[in-house]
Symmetry: C2
Subunit: 80 residues, 2 copies
Amino acid sequence: MKARIHVTLKNGVLDPQGKAIENALKALGFDNVAGVRQGKFLEVDLAPGDAGAAKAQVDDMCQKLLANTVIEDYDIEIEG
Amino acid sequence: MKARIHVTLKNGVLDPQGKAIENALKALGFDNVAGVRQGKFLEVDLAPGDAGAAKAQVDDMCQKLLANTVIEDYDIEIEG
């Protein structure tokens, strides 16, 4: 069983890393880029079990360790 | 028009950051974690246009800047 987690900066939080990527893309000639936001993507392998319980557990992981909920949002998908 | 890009380490490439997260989760009591892989997630805003052309362009961005294709895979989704 696998959890796919996206951790992204909340809207309104400055993203200097995304801005740097945007500038680099423009310098390479990609002129139609209007903005870039960078986030994290995590794949967590879990022992087999109930999908609902797994989702609750991964939510707990995000709250405790994986995301800084002051400035970041997270999104969880459970597979298999 | 928005491109969602996942950049992940290829299978077989060591992921020390993922391993550190796995160890931290286990230290917090999440004993059923079997593995963690960390990747990057990018959202690129593009000027409106043809989805096929946008995908080709984002593929070019990944090859040139966003991914290190020696050790990383990437996956592109075009929205709206």
